[in-house]
Amino acid sequence: MDILTLLVVVPVLTVIALLFTKDLKQSRFITMIGSIVQLGMAINLLFAYFRERAVNASIMLFTRDLTWFESLNIHYSIGVDGISVALIILTSVVVLAGVFISWKIDDLPKEFFVTLVILSAGVYGVFISVDLFTLFVFYEIAVIPMYLLIGIWGSGPREYAAMKLTLMLMGASALLLIGILGIYFNSNADGGALTFNILEIGKVNIPIEAQKLFFPFTFIGFAVIGAFFPFHTWSPDGHASAPTAVSMLHAGVLMKLGGYGVFRVAMFLLPEGAKHWSNFFLVLAVIGVVYGAFAAIKQTDLKYINAYSSVSHLGMVLVALLMMNKTAWNGAILQSLSHGFMTALFFALIGMIYGRTHTRDATKMGGLLKTLPFISMIYVIAGLASLGLPGMSGFVAEMNIFAGAFQHPDLFHRIISILTVSAIVVTAVYILRVVGMMLMGPITDSHFEHLPKDTWYERAGIYLLMIPIVGIGMLPLWLSNMIMSSLDPFIQRLL
């Protein structure tokens, strides 16, 4: 079996193994083994990719194509480029960290891990798909487990949050479906057969009117899961109610499907539509960036702060994608990766803090640096990464985005760029405000004086996420080169 299909098969095998487990210990052990294997395969894929890329110049590597529904030309068609490889590594790291963070899940542990692993299988599937139909199937498989994960293991208004999230995301995917059908039925514009294959459609000049019509459907269909303003409202509620590992996986990985899909499907397949609509969607995306940042200032619940910060950071990804140049695109992918690791780390830390203090209200906490030194230090570091401190991944990503954004000389793009940059300042405000309130100062509550120390599995999760954040910050070039080299087909088609 090829190394890409294994990325989906291993989670499936993990699920089957999980069905035979009896209690928490067994199920978390099985899931951990499965996730470690998966991480190993992802790293192996990275090296294999470099080896293969040196000798093979085609857009997608490790391609495999099996006919599925012959009469409609639907294939199970897979392949990866630099962008998908990077995102697959992100996924495997976050999933493994999520398993460590869920070490003590007490209610229905087997079911929790089964659902979590199914979700991750869907995400891997999206990143390896080259066929729109396969991609869409995996996309929906990735979204729907969220309902159970938030609904069963969540907290607060979990039923409401789970339903809202599911309906908004599935509603968006319904729009996406129209976009996909529109693309499919125009994929014979140059005289070929109807096809769902992204690479083949990438060679076709779809009629401009059709592109203009179907681009918004495809774009919004994907962008909603990337917390695109004004369809971001599911995200704060969903994250706040979700259990820790689910927030990590959702903000860290699932929301990346939005930017990935927008880039790979909407923009790549409908380039004229993208050009026609880019200014309109740029305005909405930049509203998301600024609004998310300001909304985060106003929140006191740690999870809401982080959720709105995600809206802001992922808005930046969309802005960068719509800026339509190589530097900005590179920044967008880097930002997806950086935000994935960073926000997963944030949610993990919030989960740990909540597990000890039993509150997520930043105003009720104080002086945690004294009682929880390790967790608090990491929180500070994650915060610095989030506000783009040089040496961390966030800086590399945002630097690229802004450098790309300012390449546009016209007034409209200048305004957009300046607004986007200004969000960085606001980010600094809400990060430092929380750090000051929650970690510094005197201990506000006597309960906080004797909090349990961090455990080995928590540290394992933290280190897993810290290494890439610092790694990308310190050594961005190899990653950046890998992404840059994969941008060529997009440049040819869109610029």
Binding site: F69, E159, L181
Partner: protein
């Protein structure tokens, strides 16, 4: 003709056994009937020859043969799921064989309807399939709701068949023949033909419970025994959709400009009414009734395609729908015969006490809602594709809006079973083997039909014969 003859023989065997079996041993007839019908289902899969009878009134080809097999499997699952109910609730009424005799008679009616080559045979099939059902709906004659449902059913069915008969006479008047292939040659567009189309369509729409002819559905579904409800909602509906597709595609293609308008409007109306009314249902049978109305609206997206691809997607979806709906009804049936509870509130916390049943329900509901990897997703996707192929993007858009609405109510039982906890949840119970086999078949169908594409390819080949 083999299907019809074997089933007729089955009925006769049961009649004989009914006469010569002692009253206290009648329970064993359940298993006899089950076994015989299982044999009938299996023999159905053997190849037969194509042909015509009665001068073309009755015809058969591999597609029709295949569809009869699908119906057989559906009925087999229903029978498996109904055994508990028959043994516990009906046995003391001393009318077990009659249940099978009536059900099989109705099924023969479906066969005739599907195989019909002219309007006469179609009408005979329609009547034969409906009348035994009325008796079955009121099977528990002590139950007032069941009796009410039966009265409602016979009134609407009589009205519907009268209306479609009226339409048929008009088509006869303009087409000059009752035979389908003669009409398709001779029919010209004329006001009378269009009137005939409208009346005929309305009559069949009653049968499929398309809006605005759906009013009987919820009451009848609620009042009837659950096995009969599932029969009404999958077998009866599936057969009627099949014959409607055949007639619209093959007999009335001349009028396709007109019936496409009708189908478009009825599809939108049916989807919205089915979905919006399903939102607030508490009784699981009513809930599934409105869900099945909405599903019929989706099927019309395949009808509007008008080509072989439309027919493929319809037959494929109907097949998936049969398995999905029988999965859901099976769980309702299992819970109802074990505890007598039929409301959604009673399902609260079910996963923690009866995990397997809840998972079957989950799979069935996901399939109905169209969520991968279960088959419903594939069925719905191909229906959208069928409508989009002819450029009906607005219809597809309204349909996906409806899918999102429907997702809300399909998640309500999931919410009750999985998300909520309850101290007085339905305690653990173990169903009999026929029930478990019935549910297993349904779930296997839900998974296999979608992911295993040769089934789809086979239907693609068959649809060319429509």
């Amino acid at each position: 003709m083999r299907h019809e003859i074997i089933l007729l023989v089955l009925i006769l065997i049961l009649l004989v056994f009914e006469i010569f079996t002692k009253t206290e041993q009648k329970k064993s007839l359940i298993y006899l009937a089950l076994g015989l019908f299982a044999i009938h289902t299996i023999t159905g899969f053997f190849q037969t020859t194509d042909g015509q009878l009665f001068g073309g009134s009755f015809r058969t080809n591999p597609l029709i043969h295949f569809f009869k097999n699908v119906l057989n499997v559906g009925v087999l699952i229903i029978l498996l799921q109904s055994t508990d109910w028959l043994r516990d609730k009906v046995a003391h009424l001393n009318k077990i064989p009659e249940f099978f005799i009536l059900l099989f008679s109705s099924l023969i009616g479906m066969y005739f309807m599907i195989s019909s080559g002219d309007f006469l045979m179609f009408y005979i099939g329609l009547e034969l399939s409906t009348l035994p059902l009325v008796a079955l709906v009121a099977y528990n004659s002590a139950d007032i709701k069941g009796t009410e449902a039966a009265v409602k059913l016979i009134m609407t069915a009589a009205l519907a068949s009268a209306i479609s008969l009226f339409g048929m006479t008009m088509l006869y008047a303009t087409g000059g023949s009752l035979f389908f292939n003669m009409i398709s040659y001779q029919l010209q567009v004329s006001p009378l033909a269009i009137m005939g189309l409208v009346f005929f369509f309305s009559g069949v729409a009653f049968k499929i419970s398309l809006a605005p002819f759906h009013f009987w559905t919820a009451d009848v579904y609620e009042g009837a025994p659950i096995g009969i409800t599932s029969y009404l909602s999958v077998i009866s509906k599936g057969a009627a959709i099949f014959i409607l597709t055949t007639i619209l595609f093959k007999v009335l293609p001349v009028l396709s400009d007109y019936w496409k308008y009708i189908v478009w409007g009825v599809a939108v109306l049916t989807m919205f009414i089915g979905n919006l009314f399903a939102l607030r249902q508490q009784n699981m049978k009513r809930f599934l009734a409105f869900s099945s109305i909405a599903q019929a609206g989706f099927i019309l997206m395949g009808v509007i395609n008008g080509d072989a691809f439309g027919a493929t997607s319809i037959i494929y979806f109907v097949m998936i729908y049969i398995f999905s709906n029988l999965g859901a009804f099976g769980v309702v049936q299992a819970i109802s015969s074990a505890t007598g509870k039929e409301n959604m509130d009673d399902y609260v916390g079910l996963y923690r006490t009866n995990p397997k049943l809840s998972l079957v329900m989950l799979m069935a509901l996901f399939s109905l809602a169209g969520i991968p990897p279960v088959a419903g997703f594939f069925g719905k996707f191909f229906l959208y594709t069928a409508a989009a192929e002819k450029g009906y993007y607005l219809l597809v858009f309204l349909a996906v809006v409806n899918v999102t609405i429907s997702l809300y109510y399909y998640l309500l039982p999931v919410r009750a079973m999985f998300l909520r906890k309850s101290d007085d949840a339905i305690p653990y119970f173990k169903s009999n083997w026929p029930m478990r086999l019935g549910l297993l078949l349904a779930v296997a169908g839900i998974f296999v039909i979608g992911l295993y594409s040769p089934i789809y390819n086979y239907i693609v080949e068959l649809s060319k014969l429509l």
